[in-house]
Amino acid sequence: VKVLVVDDDPVSRMLLKATVVRLGHEVTVAENGAEAWRLFSAAPSPLVLTDWMMDDVDGLELCRRIRARPSAPYTYVILLTAKDARAHYVQGIEAGADDFLGKPFDHDLLAARIHVAQRILGLRDHVEHLERLLPICMYCKKIRNPDERWLRVEEFITTRTSEQLTHGICPDCYVTVARPAVARALRDRQR
């Protein structure tokens, strides 16, 4: 998985990078929150491993910015905290963090946390894939909405997208449906 590692402490940054690479992941590093946000905006990574306490854009702010993006693929954020920061976990969760890891970090815990992150990102992909599958009636072509109601195609499109529909007739249906129907109507009127 692609991982963005953010830490303003060069020792910790180097160590994190080496460890995460060794765990088999692709790593990009940032020296501070502002740089991380620039890199992330240009090429979002599914997993962000960021120090909490940094000057200017800190881990919480980075987290908030990542969460504020509209309709983007999910990013899993792990906040790195000094051991005594446990009391502030609520703050981290409210900013949108998924998990925490104490510093100096423990290798096995880091490996486990990344493993969990991958599992959750995988489930997320699966859900998004399922959401993209539309159940459509094979006879009348109505589509099942997430609220279980069966909607006509035009209702479905207008409720789920910003598209506005206008009714028309395609050339095929003009020949097979519309023209015979008009002819029938004219015949009926002549009777």
Binding site: D9, P10, S12, L15, K103, P104, H107
Partner: protein
């Protein structure tokens, strides 16, 4: 009152360094990490003294936070503890401000001497 400058035991926990080598699977990387730590920490300690002279408590505490983290990573336990003390209690101009920072300087010298010996291939 105990002298905060008096270092107890080893300046650097050799087991922590061995753990780093095991974790990264790369002994050369540990040598590199130590180099980065020494350069960075020398700058950080200087910046702390400078910020203290300016009376900037917040900056000193902020620098101490990172000093604590990197020192703990490298196994410099005493220095990490001093860093934590500065981070939590340092107040520019207070009675023990100068003593506390001097203790950091002295302990960093001890850590540096120990790490430099190691870099030259002397493990003891």
């Amino acid at each position: 009152v105990s002298d905060p400058a008096a270092g107890h035991g080893d300046a650097v926990d050799e087991k922590a360094l061995a753990a780093l080598a095991e974790m990264t699977g790369d002994a050369a990387l540990v040598t590199e990490l130590i180099d980065v730590y020494l350069t960075d920490t020398a700058e950080r300690v200087a910046a702390m003294r400078e910020a203290a002279t300016r009376g900037d408590t917040r900056a000193v505490r902020r620098l101490a936070h990172t000093l604590r983290g990197s020192s703990a990573t490298i196994g410099a336990r005493e220095l990490a503890m001093l860093g934590a003390r500065v981070e939590q209690t340092f107040t520019a101009g207070s009675a023990d401000a100068r003593t506390l920072l001097e203790a950091v300087v002295v302990e960093f010298d001890r850590v540096r001497a120990r790490l430099l010996r190691r870099q030259k291939g002397d493990p003891a």
